[in-house]
């Protein structure tokens, strides 16, 4: 049985949905971070799948951008999480509502 692009796309969709649902239902910021990473990498998979299928380098290039942006975002996000952890004993994002309108 040949592994076509469709397989990868399905995998990507499944991973993305897992990430998204995780983002919505979990309250721990660290876990939510992981979920976001999951979603990003799901997208990366679909990028690579399409790139391969269409024989176009642009898709793979985009992946690098996503990786770089994700790395930068992790740096900022994790430092925020660490700073918050220091201040509060238990951490739930639902408690962080100081920007409420």
């Amino acid at each position: 049985m040949e592994v076509t692009a469709t397989w990868y796309l399905v995998l990507s969709a499944v991973l993305f949905s897992m990430g998204f649902v995780g983002l919505l239902v979990r309250r721990n910021p660290l876990i939510m971070f992981m979920c976001i990473e999951l979603m990003l990498n799901a997208v990366n998979i679909s990028f690579v799948a399409f790139s391969n299928a269409l024989d176009d380098i642009a898709g793979r290039t985009a992946v690098f951008f996503v990786l770089v942006v994700a790395a930068a975002e992790v740096v900022v996000g994790l430092s925020l999480v660490v700073a918050l952890m220091r201040r509060r004993p238990s951490l739930s994002v639902d408690d962080l509502t100081s920007l409420r309108g």
Binding site: F20, L23, L24, R27, M32, V93, D94, L96, T97, S98, L99, R100, G101
Partner: protein
Amino acid sequence: MLDIAWLIPAFPLLGFVLLVLFGRRLGEPFAGWLATIASAGAFVSTVVVFFGLAALDTAERFHLVKLFTWIDVGSFTVDAGLLVDPLSITMCLFITGVGTLIHLYSVGYMHGDPNFSKFFIYLNLFILSMLLLVLGDNLLLTFLGWEGVGACSYLLISFWFSDESNASAGKKAFVTNRIGDFGYMLATFLVFVELGSINYDDIVSRAGELGSRSATLIVVLFLLAAAGKSAQLPLFVWLPDAMAGPTPVSALIHAATMVTSGVFLLTRLNPILAEAEVWSTGLVAWVGALTALFAATIAVAQNDIKRVLAYSTVSQLGYLFLAVGVGGYVPAIFHMVTHAFFKALLFLGSGSVIHGLHQEQDMRRMGGLSKLMPITAMTFIVGWLAIAGVPPFSGFWSKDEILLYAWNYDGLGGPAGGKVLWAIGLVTALLTAFYMTRQVILTFFGRTRFFDVRAEEIAAAWEARFATLDLSIAEANEVEEHALSAVEKARNEVSKREEALAKAEEKLVAAREAVAASDASADAHVKLVKALERAEGAVPKAEEAVLKAEEKLIALVGEVEEAAVYGKELQTARVDLRNSRRATPMPPSQVTARTEAPVLDDDLSEYVPESYHRRQEYHPHESPWTMTLPLIVLALLAAAGGGLNLPFTSELHFLEHWLEPSLFGHEVHVTASASTKWILAVVAVLVGLIAIVASFRVYMAGAVDPARVEPEGAARAWYVDETYAGFFGGPGRALFDGLAGFDRGVIDGAVRAVARGTVALAQGMRALQPGFVRSYALGIGLGSVLVMVWFMGRLFV
């Protein structure tokens, strides 16, 4: 050569910047020298540009120097550029030339002022603004200069702002000028709407595209602007008050340069004036003529040496408007130049007088200064002859030209209208010669009245004398009261003594009875006899005491009477003093060269206040060379300035030929015959001479009481200020309150309503920001899904 025109404003700009940065450190007199050099640099560059311009063909004398693009919005482009043409360079020549002389003069005049360097900062800034005003190649750059000179004028009028009246004079000038500026702005907007450009270049070449209606409206609005800046009816009220500033400022700003900018503006816009309907230019002429006459009548009755010159300036500016209105741009510029010479000269001369007389400005207290200040007097006399229109001094030529053009005018009201304008101009010339002669006589001839005791000093001496007398009256009253109470006491004493006497007598009677009744042999009898003897002795003693007390009483009563008599004498003396005060003549409010010194009788002289004695020790003196040199230079210019445009042959019309390229053939040409011209000139000279002779009769010979030629109304400027104050304080106030109410209710209300609406909207939108990160994530997710669905839908439909 013309491209160095940017140097002209650059010099004062550099001077201004340097003085702002280092002025205080430079101090006196170096800050003044720096400013003078900056102004002189501008003058030298102007002369260079002038020769460059003169070397060109007549047709090419309209040169634009673009510095940079200032504003570029849509179709609206304004360059910061200079327009070098005969008109602007003529203005620059006398602005920088006269300006430099006044800078030099100020170095002497402002000697010892704590804000010496600040004064020169303002002066250089003023020169810069004025140069931008005349050199700007568009209405906006001119407006920048226009506002700049207004601001400098404000700063300099209230230069000595610690005095409340100086500060409010500055405010008055500023506020009055704002009314004119309003006209300027509206006119500029209108020009832009009509022509799509505010460059003079376009205005000149495309003025014909303006309809006569809008051209008329533009002219009227610019007339309002010019009337504000050039102090014409009805906005002239600020200029006499502007004399509160230091005298060099009055000379530079309020006589020679800034106030002529209205005339310059109207001359610059001559293509628009040519398009406008006849009545609007006629209005310019009539405003000028009426202002000239009106201000001249006021100047006749002023006693402040600078106020006379201030009203004289208003009057002469009226001449300039008259000239512009009748189409005589050349005589207008000609008179503007000669006026700059002689009026700056007169102002600086009056400043020299004020400086030499310890800040005294009242002409009634001057007199006889020609001996004490010979240079000032000589130069002032040259200025007087120039403004009075005595040939061959400069004022004669330029004023005569204006009168000739007025005679020639046949626009509004036809030829008869021109004759009326001419007659008004002639009467003004008569008044001008009259009040200027008065000023010269009162200031420089006759007795030196500076040392005279002054009316207010006499009044103060009388007050002091009355106060002393009142003090002794009070003392006498006190003595009398004191004596009265002593009399009262003495009376009590007398009655007490009398009682004692009565008691003693009673005792005596009782003792006698007791002795008679008693048994002579008893022991007690001896005692009783002794008592009787004692009682007999006590009675004469008591009698003596009564007598003494009565004597004392009589003496005291005498004292009281004496005190009462003395008090009465003092009262009579007071009445006498009041009568003699009423009988003593006060120094007259109007003086002549023959007015005698007010007498101060010996009794009064010891009460004269300190100021009088201080003045006796002060020596009026000639000013230093920094002040007299500008006077001499200006006197030469004022004497010879007529040579700029002699009327005899066409070749001698230097100024007319020079200005031709700036006027585009819009100037009127006089059609009167040579004989008419001669007759008009002779009439003008005769009128001037009659006025001078009349003034000599009144003020030198004392043939007529000056009070008869100086009406009270004229001295109070025909109550214009009071009327304005009454109107704007009364009915005007209600109107402004109404407008302010409209502003608060409707305009501010609308603004506040918008603000409240925004707040309400924001309140509603707060619900969208709960602060839960996960709900945001859900929102983003759902949004993405919606976007995707929409794209899919587009793909398949």
